[in-house]
């Protein structure tokens, strides 16, 4: 650090000192050891206060970086004992990485959503504790020994399973994304929220473990001939219900899951049992799953004929719009963040498709005029998040960053103009348009739309 530290209007401000919160700086002070402690404290305090910190910091680094020259407590003292915490937590310095509610979005705490902090995540897996939440009537921590799964309807013998029994069956584990049908819904008409967390954070990805639903249907002697539909029903107050197509279940993809990322499902994610419906919007992934009914017609539940319907410009509602179409978003840099300086950056983000695998992601750093193809990081799995990366050198001038994904059916993620030309602006659900992040001259990144 130190070469380009002076501040001028319109220039990039050097971080991190300017942005570490007071509490964080105090912690750093507490841990600082050695003779120059007071000097560093003054320099940091000045930086936080936003005064002429630059010169002082430049001086302090004349002999080298204090972070190197002064041995910290963790190099000179005894650390914490093993199993201080039987179920570990993230570092206290990661406290900013949290699920959040969007202010004013929902008036009640139980019929609400929280957004995953996409801007702070790596790879494709969402830590279970950061998985987005959507509850319709509040969440429960259900006693697994009392939970039951019933299968009834067009079956030879209606069946009841305990969790013990389900967990004895041969299991499969698969990585899949789950996205709320309303993800990015606030942005259908105009720019509405500032960060990737709020624009795209009703999106998560986990390794789910469970039993293919088809296995349980066969055990009940299900009539699988002809056109069949399954009703999945939850055990919470809302008893959420959704119709699932038999053809998807027959493929073996639909799971009755109890495991998530190596642990049991979290209560907010439906502990002890939820349905996993790959590629399909989250509302169909019934939490606290208690019942599966097999029938010969769709069920017309509240969330397929009244909510989660897409209003077209001609006044018709599209019902049973379930697939989450191919979509992507740049997560770093993204809205609400600030670039530290000119120079090299790795632009990275996530791409996904409810129809299969991501085939290609292109990135533009000039507002969609020209595009380059990004690197897809392995694994690239079906109906799963895919991480992409691409190199970029920022010259300090304002620009707009976008990503555009394509899946293996050949479907290309549309621009807002293309999407609105067909579906208007009143759909709420299934907004998969290309996201634009504007990098301003001072390094701030803002959520924008090109019209």
């Amino acid at each position: 650090m130190g070469s380009r530290i002076q501040q001028q209007p319109g220039q990039v401000r050097k971080a991190p000192e300017n942005f570490v919160d007071t509490e964080g700086v105090r912690t750093v002070f507490a841990q600082a050891q050695g003779g120059r402690r007071d000097f560093i404290r003054n320099a940091f305090a000045a930086a936080v206060a936003g005064t002429a910190a630059s010169a002082a910091l430049a001086q302090s680094t004349a002999d080298g970086d204090p972070a190197i020259l002064q041995l910290p407590a963790h190099s000179t003292g005894l650390g914490q004992p093993v199993v201080t915490d039987g179920y570990g937590k993230p570092s206290k310095y990661e406290a900013n990485v949290q699920r959040r509610q969007s202010p004013g979005l929902t008036p009640t705490a139980q019929a609400s959503v929280s957004f995953a902090p996409l801007q702070s995540l790596f790879g494709i897996v969402t830590p279970s504790g950061l998985h987005f939440e959507r509850h319709h009537q509040g969440w429960w921590d259900i006693d697994p020994s009392k939970h039951r799964l019933m299968i009834n309807g067009m079956v030879k013998a209606p069946k009841v399973f305990t969790l013990d029994e389900l967990m004895r069956l041969p299991s499969v584990s698969r990585f899949h994304f789950i996205e709320c049908g309303a993800n990015t819904g606030m942005e259908w008409g105009n720019v509405a929220v500032p960060t990737a967390q709020y624009t795209h954070g009703m999106l998560s990805c986990s390794e789910f473990t469970g039993v293919p639903l088809i296995t349980l249907l066969e055990m009940a002697g299900a009539d699988l001939k002809g056109e069949r539909f399954v009703l999945a029903e939850g055990a919470d107050g809302s008893s959420m219900t959704r119709t699932i197509p038999m053809s998807l279940i027959r493929s073996g993809e639909v799971l009755v899951a109890y495991g998530q990322n190596g642990e049991m499902l979290r209560p907010e994610q439906g502990y002890p049992l939820r349905l996993v419906v790959p590629g399909v919007q989250g509302v169909s992934w019934i939490k606290y799953l208690r019942r599966i009914e097999l029938g010969d017609q769709p069920y017309g539940t509240k969330d397929e004929t009244v909510h989660y319907v897409d209003l077209m410009p001609d006044g018709q509602h599209r019902q049973y719009t379930s697939i989450q179409e191919c979509k992507s978003v740049v997560t770093t840099p993204s809205g609400g963040q600030m670039l530290l300086d000119k120079g090299f950056y790795n632009i990275t983000g996530l791409a996904w498709s409810g129809r299969g695998k991501v085939k290609r992601v292109d990135v533009s750093v000039d507002g969609g005029r020209n595009w380059r193809t990004a690197r897809l990081e392995s694994p690239v799995l079906s109906k799963c998040l895919t991480r992409f990366n691409i190199d970029w050198v920022w010259d300090g001038s304002p620009t707009i960053i976008q990503s555009r994904a394509m899946d293996d059916t050949g479907y290309v993620q549309p621009s807002y103009r293309q999407l609105r030309a067909v579906r208007g602006t009143r759909s709420i659900y299934h907004n998969n348009a290309i996201q634009s992040w504007q990098v301003q001259q001072n390094g701030e990144v803002a959520n924008v739309q090109l019209t």
Binding site: P298, G315, R404, T451
Partner: protein
């Protein structure tokens, strides 16, 4: 040593037998399933849980209820969240409104074509009456789901239909006449499944996606484009974004809050005594805001009116009340004694929200 043909034949036979035993053992699970796992459900168990009602009204239990009785159910159990006339109470989307007598004839809600019409009510969207019946039966009232009898649900559904002008004041809805009412639903013809976003092959769907883009690589858009962004006054609307990003990395969060507010918040949260878990568990926050009026008065307003009166507040929580804060009644709450007491005590002690002890 003899190696008679008989011996060889015997050896081969034994080997074959061993092998077929082996195959039989490993093949067993496939032919007999998973013994010991799962049991048959009893008819009573199936009846207890099989509550769904389909658009063809399969699953609908027998029963009936009048508009008049529905009004009683509505006012005591539904109006607190949905408004006296189903117009909502700022808590949930309105149920009634936006439909006309002409819509009942055509089965299309004309206002859905008007982008200027604000919002969409349940009666504007619902194509199947079964959906309304099913949802009320399984999930309402919001804080006491599944407490309504089938007759209650017929009655309250009749009342909703009456508010929407779909059935007359003296109507009684029942499992016998519900199909006739379905034929009057204002948006019964307003829905389609002709799209490519159903993952199965069952709904007569479109095969191709409706939006088709091409992956252009060079000179794809004009150099000059209009850029729409959040207005400057919204900069702090989602709190301090600096506190919502990692403290280390390629980017840091932008400061969007005044420094004073930023330092006060964490300390206050630590010292707060708000019984958040109890308020949420007992659905209090569904109707009461900390400092703002929702359906009922703000907790801070209640505290101001009844300082120190723990017992009075306890009694109000348990028994409910009406008329003090407006027309909407507070229903009696089913809540554990110690939890009600803790909430009443907190209210009596000023109901300090976070940050204002």
């Amino acid at each position: 040593m003899s190696s008679s043909p008989e011996r060889a034949a015997l050896r081969a036979l034994l080997a074959l037998a061993a092998c077929s035993v082996c195959i039989a053992t490993w093949a067993q699970p496939k032919t007999t399933g998973y013994p010991g796992i799962g049991r048959d459900a009893t008819p009573k168990e199936v009846a207890a849980w099989d509550i769904d009602v389909r658009p063809d009204f399969k699953g609908l239990p027998p029963g009936s209820g009048s508009v008049t009785r529905g009004q009683d159910v509505w006012e005591s159990k539904c109006a607190s969240c949905h408004g006296v006339f189903g117009e909502s109470n700022q808590v949930f989307s309105p149920i009634v409104g936006g439909t006309t007598a002409d819509d009942i004839k055509t089965g299309h809600v004309a206002r859905l074509k008007d982008p200027a019409f604000p919002g969409r009510t349940t009666l504007m969207k619902a194509s199947s009456l079964s959906t309304v019946w099913d949802y009320v039966y399984r999930a309402m009232p919001w804080n006491q789901p599944k407490s309504l009898t089938p007759d209650d649900v017929y009655a309250v559904t009749a009342y909703i239909l009456n508010l929407g002008g779909i059935v007359p004041d003296d109507f009684t809805l029942s499992d016998k006449n519900i199909r006739e009412v379905q034929a009057r639903m204002p948006n019964r013809n307003g829905a389609t499944t002709a799209h490519a976003m159903w993952p199965g092959t069952e709904l007569g769907r479109a095969v191709k996606p409706d939006v088709t883009a091409v992956a252009c690589m060079h000179d794809c858009v004009p150099a000059e484009q209009k850029v729409a962004q959040l207005p400057p006054h919204a900069r702090g609307s989602h709190g301090n974004l600096a506190d919502q990003n990692r403290l280390v990395g390629a980017q840091h969060g932008i400061e969007t809050a005044p420094p004073a507010a930023k330092t006060a918040a964490p300390q206050a949260a630590a010292t707060s005594k708000v019984p958040t878990a109890l308020l949420e568990k007992n659905s209090c926050v569904a109707c009461h805001g900390m400092t703002q009026k929702l359906v009922g008065p703000a907790f801070s307003d209640i505290a101001k009116k009844y300082p120190g009166q723990t017992d009075h507040l306890l009694q109000k929580i348990k028994a409910g009340g009406s008329g003090v804060w407006g027309a909407i009644p507070m229903p009696p709450q089913t809540i554990a004694d110690d939890e009600a007491k803790a909430i009443a005590r907190w209210l009596a002690e000023s109901a300090a929200p976070e940050g204002k002890p």
